[in-house]
């Protein structure tokens, strides 16, 4: 009888255990199910999603990731040389006016969002800390500014003040004002050098006058100058020219950005300006070479290769002066762009030059471009950079 009773108790206990286990597995599955069935955030068609105000966009960080070396010279003579290693690690060394090392900062990625920050001053105590991905996306620029701030303000009792680690209760340091020059070395031999100056009043586009402190970014590829960008800090206007790719100077102010972004989504800084010039040249080169940034380059067939060798594809309607791109950086570029727009509006093609009876509208386009070439006068795009170019 006792044996039967003991067996019954064991069976009941085992059954209860199995039931409880099944229940917990069920609830775990339910929990997992509830995790995977989170609602998808839909965005209405035509609505533009912009990043958080004050923050730079994903394109900025994608481009920044290709910066190999950043040399930041501060107004007090300190120089931070920051380099990116092959596996994405970042090393920044700050030197004083005499060239003596003051401190080193290293960033090592430890997972998808966190970095280990190692700070090693030549005088004072070292520390290591984990970055906070909700506050900061560590870049070469961030490392340079961070090591400079730590050397200037000290590294004890650190707290996060926005995206910067600094001493508790210390006044916030605006490092961008302390920056004098920045040299950004990027992929493909591109180098952007930023400097500061003050420009007298000038006209950079019809009816738009600018003046005051400016940041100037000079872009070169393998040492040859390829473009210039100027940001007028007081007027919040960015003007740039990339000869061969832009029709004179391109001017962007808060008015141009209002429709999509409501104005400048962030305050342009020294590093952004260099990267913007690099991005402009990089994307315009891609478009010129392959028709679009994302175009697939297909290998032509063998007869096609032969034909391409002797008679490469000449696109019937490229931006700029078709088959006269040598003049794209000149004041004649606008004539060609106006002609392209006129052709698009009237549905013309190159045949209308000799089939003149087909369309009077096309004839007008053709006559206009010839007249424009003979009598072109416009603004001097060198006015965006030249000192003493009065409006």
């Amino acid at each position: 009888m006792k044996t039967w009773m003991a067996s019954a108790v064991v069976i009941v206990v085992l059954a209860a255990g199995a039931w409880l286990k099944a229940g917990s597995a069920n609830s775990a599955a339910q929990a997992q199910g509830s995790q995977t069935s989170r609602p998808v955030q839909l965005v209405p068609a035509g609505e533009k999603q912009v990043g958080s105000p004050g923050e730079k966009g994903a394109t900025y960080y994608a481009l920044e990731a290709q910066t190999t070396r950043l040399t930041t010279r501060f107004r007090d003579g300190h120089v931070a040389v920051t380099e990116r290693g092959l596996v994405g690690d970042v090393h920044s060394t700050l030197r004083d006016l005499a060239g003596n090392d003051r401190a080193k900062l290293r960033l090592n990625r430890i997972d998808g969002g966190h970095d280990m920050v190692n700070y090693e001053p030549t005088e004072g105590s070292r520390f290591q800390a984990v970055s906070d991905p909700t506050l900061v996306k560590p870049t070469l620029d961030w490392a340079a500014r961070q090591v400079y701030g730590l050397v200037k303000d000290g590294a004890d009792n650190l707290v996060w003040d926005g995206a910067i680690m600094q001493r508790k209760n210390a006044p916030r340091r605006d490092v961008d004002i302390d920056v004098d020059t920045v040299e950004t070395n990027w992929a493909n031999g591109l180098t952007a050098r930023l400097s500061r100056s003050t420009y007298p009043r000038r006209q950079i586009s019809p009816g738009r006058f600018v003046e005051g402190p400016v940041m100037i970014s000079e872009l070169s590829q393998y040492g040859a100058p390829v473009g210039t960008g100027v940001y007028f800090e007081k007027d919040r206007v960015f003007a740039y020219t990339v000869p061969g790719f832009t029709a004179g100077a391109v001017v962007i102010g808060a008015d141009e950005l209002k429709a999509n972004y409501g104005g400048w989504p962030f305050t342009p800084d020294t590093t952004w300006l260099n990267l913007q010039m690099i991005a402009t040249y990089h994307f315009k080169t891609l478009i010129a070479k392959q028709g679009s940034v994302s175009a697939r380059i297909c290998e032509p067939s063998r007869p096609g290769l032969l034909a391409q060798f002797f008679a490469p594809t000449v696109y019937a309607n490229e931006a700029g002066c078709d088959d006269l791109h040598w003049l794209d950086g000149s004041i004649l570029r606008d004539c060609c762009d106006d002609h392209d727009r006129c052709y698009a509006k009237s549905g013309c093609d190159a045949n209308t030059w000799w089939q003149w009876w087909r369309s009077w509208s096309c004839d007008r386009c053709n006559m206009a471009v010839v007249g424009c070439f003979f009598a072109r006068a416009g603004l001097d795009d060198r006015c965006i950079t030249r000192q003493g170019c009065a409006g």
Binding site: G244, D323, V370
Partner: protein, 130 residues
């Protein structure tokens, strides 16, 4: 036809040399477009400042030699312009092709005529020219 008179032969040689010079310069530009001429846009001598200098430089040297040999500079320019037109139309064309042809033709004519004139002057001043 080219063997009828000495003048006709000089014109024929000039035309052929001008045509071949432009084609050769264009072939080099196609082959070295990305490396020597910047690589932007399609390979064509008026699409890059360096390509303009290269093509006109080749034409100038050849027309200088042609001038020394008393070949026709005008025929050389015509040959080069014919090659330019053929290359332009063999492609997909340009929306401003008359302007392109006029600009290219003027550059080619000016270079070839200057080169052949200088060549003929060198030839005339040479002590062996008599």
């Amino acid at each position: 036809m080219c063997g009828v008179t000495q003048n006709a032969a000089a014109r024929c040689f000039g035309f052929a040399v001008g045509l071949l010079t432009f084609v050769a310069a264009h072939a080099i530009e196609v082959a070295k477009w990305a490396v020597w001429f910047g690589g932007a846009h399609a390979p064509w001598f008026l699409n890059s400042g360096r390509a303009v200098i290269f093509t006109l430089g080749c034409l100038f040297v050849v027309s200088l030699i042609a001038g020394i040999l008393r070949w026709s500079g005008a025929a050389l320019a015509t040959g080069a312009a014919t090659a330019m037109t053929a290359v332009l139309f063999f492609g997909e064309g340009s929306t401003i092709f008359p302007i392109v042809l006029a600009a290219g033709g003027l550059l080619i004519a000016a270079t070839s005529l200057l080169g052949s004139w200088l060549g003929s002057e060198i030839s005339r001043l040479s002590p062996h020219s008599q």
